[in-house]
């Protein structure tokens, strides 16, 4: 699949997909989602739901530009995706991703994990990046873990390191794969509050609202946080709308994501 050409007509949109089909990363011959038509405006906060195995992670990997779509056209601020070319790295870094379970570099400390993108792209030493890394560690509550390695940490903290690392370069769009899975109530609350701040315009992002896309298998925690909802259902990407529309939906699959039996609303 060739990268889509730039399209000035959709330059105002953060993400724009037309007729996108997504294959499994582990098995490129298996199509998981197809016919995706989706527009994400700057500052939007989308929650994409789906049962386990519905292809949420692969869909997000494609959205993050890590895999090419099998079919269709995908633009990121008007630029064709995926961007693998070296000379488009600057545009590419406007998009960042937080993986389920963090996907941290296990041989690096927390501080080194978080500073890596900054050091690599700005050619800084560990000490040189420290002044910018410390505030982000403080912000994410990771300051006491700075010199620990990921193997010594619980899942909840590893996820936060993944978030801090993704925020290091202050991206305009942040994709988060199942950020609340495996977290206790206290950590969930922290994430929902922090993502809400990012969406409204966090000081770390210089007050600019960050465009957010999260995946989940449970819509309930996102009530009042996510502004638009969609779901992956039977290999299709279905836009559901606002929380009120999700809550009013009678579709059995939507009710499952609300942990409510169909017809009980």
């Amino acid at each position: 699949m060739k990268a889509a050409a730039s399209n000035p007509a959709v330059a105002g949109l953060a993400l724009e997909m037309r007729g996108i089909a997504v294959a499994a990363m582990a098995d490129p011959g298996t199509i998981l989602v197809e016919g995706v038509d989706w527009s994400v405006a700057p500052g939007d906060f989308w929650v994409v739901g789906g049962q386990q195995g519905s292809g949420k992670t692969d869909f997000l990997l494609m959205t993050g530009g890590l895999t090419a779509p099998v079919n269709g056209a995908y633009h990121f601020f008007g630029n064709g995706m995926p961007m693998f070319e070296e000379n488009r790295l600057g545009e590419r870094l406007q998009l960042s991703m937080v993986f389920d379970e963090g996907k941290l570099f296990n041989r690096l400390t927390v501080s080194e994990n978080v500073s890596l993108p900054l050091r690599y792209h700005r050619n800084l030493t560990v000490a040189g990046a420290d002044a910018e890394v410390r505030p982000l560690l403080d912000l994410t509550g990771m300051e006491s873990w700075a010199d620990s390695t990921p193997g010594a940490m619980a899942l909840a903290w590893r996820k936060r390191v993944g978030l801090a690392r993704a925020l290091m370069l202050k991206p305009r769009v942040l994709l988060l794969d199942n950020p609340l899975s495996g977290l206790d109530l206290r950590h969930r609350g922290w994430w929902l509050n922090f993502l809400g701040q990012l969406s409204r315009g966090h000081p770390w992002m210089e007050g600019r609202p960050t465009t957010l896309v999260v995946t989940t298998h449970d819509f309930r925690p996102w009530q009042g946080v996510g502004r638009q909802f969609a779901m992956l259902k039977d290999r299709r990407f279905v836009v559901l709308g606002s929380w009120q529309q999700v809550n009013a939906a009678s579709d059995e699959r939507v009710r499952e994501l609300l942990a409510v039996e169909a017809g009980s609303n």
């Binding site: 582990a26 941290l104 890596l116 050091r119 690599y120």
Partner: protein
Amino acid sequence: MITKCRASSRVIYPLAIHEISRAGLRLLPMFLLVAAALGLVVIGQAVSWLTRIGAINYLGTIMVIVVVRELGPLIAAMLLLARVGTANVVELATARALGEVEALEALGIDPLHYFVAPRVFGMAVGIFSLTIYLILGALVSGYLWAFVQEVPLQPADYFRQLAAALSGLDFALLAVKTGLFGFIIAIVTCYHGLAQPLRLEEVSHATVRAVAQSVIACVLLDALFIVIYLIF
């Protein structure tokens, strides 16, 4: 690749230095032990046979042919493969299985640049230095074993025999050969660790494949160099 290494030199160079240390300095004690053993093996056998046929003056020549041209570089390559190459595949394959490659790509960092370039450079430089130490150690220990066996050979004569048997081509081919051994081991092990999506249970298979292919590639390369020696 070189331009990119320079652009991120403060990240990549420390990794390359770590790899040189791992594939060079840290293996030195083991290589010196093997050098002593190699000198014993070659001299022990050679003295016994050369004395019988009255050709003890060829001791230096035999050391050059066996140790400098053949066994030194090949043994160094096999030791590097055993000590560093296998660890390389396991590390990279585990990183791949745990999604570190995707994480690098998501951060706009080229995995080849971050994972492969320092290892290739480190192994090529490391094996070159180690081979030189191995050969020098084997030549010195060879003389010591000859001395123990009461061979009537002065150090100056032994050194003269070695110098006479060595040519400029030996030095040039030794440098090229050892560099290529390091390059091959690094490329093959990195390829098997990173090239395809892996699950954790496939790491051991990837390691076995990488070791087997590295051994075959090094032996074939060595055979190619024998042909070059024969031609020249």
